[in-house]
Symmetry: C2
Subunit: 198 residues, 2 copies
């Protein structure tokens, strides 16, 4: 089905153009006109692929989440069979923080998307569902590590999951260069050390 | 000097209008035109108080930081003389998270400001300086608690400071209602318990 592949490719091209606009010029400059110019397409061509700005934003965000998922999957492969949950959590956190170019782009896209979600019910529902699913994956991993005795049994899986996800709060410190990547890694490692040894 | 007071009052009125635009309609709708309409003023009147959009954004952010500072100061007064550093950190974190209306408005303003900072050098310098100062206040408090033996002496003040500030990463989970305020407080309390008892 070459037509469908082209359609998907074109949508990804547009999504990447949207990322570049957000990444280079900021969310305030985000309009279909700017994205069209960046993708070297007309406004009408973009509308052929996305009926609305929300639809484009949601696709770009799903695509960003997919890219992050693929980076995590590649990292997991490198960890080999039955990786330690500590290493899995470290990998997930590193890919969620703006520590390299691809992660920086998806991290900024994500921050912009959450702000938009506060004012758009459709985007809000999708963003919430995505975050819920991501949180649930981490929770299952932590609950299993507690059951396996790798994390102390008196730990609460929900609270520890929220604390892990909260480490994405290092993002503004990194983006504004108040701390260095090594500082963020030190905070992550200290946190994981305590979680897995207590 | 009634004139100067009027000027400052007018600037605060405009800043609050800007918050409302960001809070109710989102950062994407933020323009001087929208802010002028919300403040019931003309574009020209706004320009009399702020020469540029950046100047208005920076003022609104400084004003938000000031408001947060005042809420923390009021909370500190309620804690009495020589409050325990654990209570001080808890208070700061609660006022930084979107757990009540005022804190929600400043939290969203802050997220929008950080995104803008990535694409505007003037805003970036001011945002970075503000974050640096806030981080330094927390670091001094933690370093003192380590020196006083309230936090274990083998803890690193910089790493523990970054971990405390990282707890603002609970913001998207709260904003998208993936977790409840009580869950965020549980994560904060668990973190502070470990920091102060180990």
């Amino acid at each position: 089905m070459p037509k469908r592949v082209d359609h998907q490719e074109r949508r990804e091209t547009i999504a990447r153009a949207l990322w570049r606009v957000v990444d280079q010029r900021g969310i305030l400059r985000l309009s279909l006109r700017e994205v069209a110019a960046e993708a070297d397409m007309s406004h009408g061509q973009i509308q052929h692929y996305f009926a609305s700005r929300q639809e484009l934003l949601s696709f770009a965000m799903d695509f960003a989440a997919e890219q992050t998922g693929q980076r995590v999957a590649r990292g997991l492969q490198a960890l080999g069979a039955a990786p330690h949950p500590r290493d899995v959590l470290r990998l997930i956190l590193i890919e969620m923080l703006p520590l390299h170019d691809d992660a920086r782009a998806t991290s900024r896209m994500n921050a912009a998307y959450v702000l938009e979600a506060l004012h758009d019910n459709m985007i809000r529902d999708r963003a919430r569902e995505g975050l819920r699913q991501g949180r649930e994956q981490v929770r299952v991993l932590i609950a299993q590590a507690i059951a396996d005795g790798k994390i102390a049994r008196d730990r609460d899986a929900n609270t520890e999951t929220d604390r892990i996800l909260a480490l994405t709060g290092l993002t503004p410190l990194l983006d504004l260069e108040v701390i260095k990547p090594g500082d963020a890694l030190a905070a992550i490692d200290q946190h994981l050390d305590e979680l897995f040894t207590s």
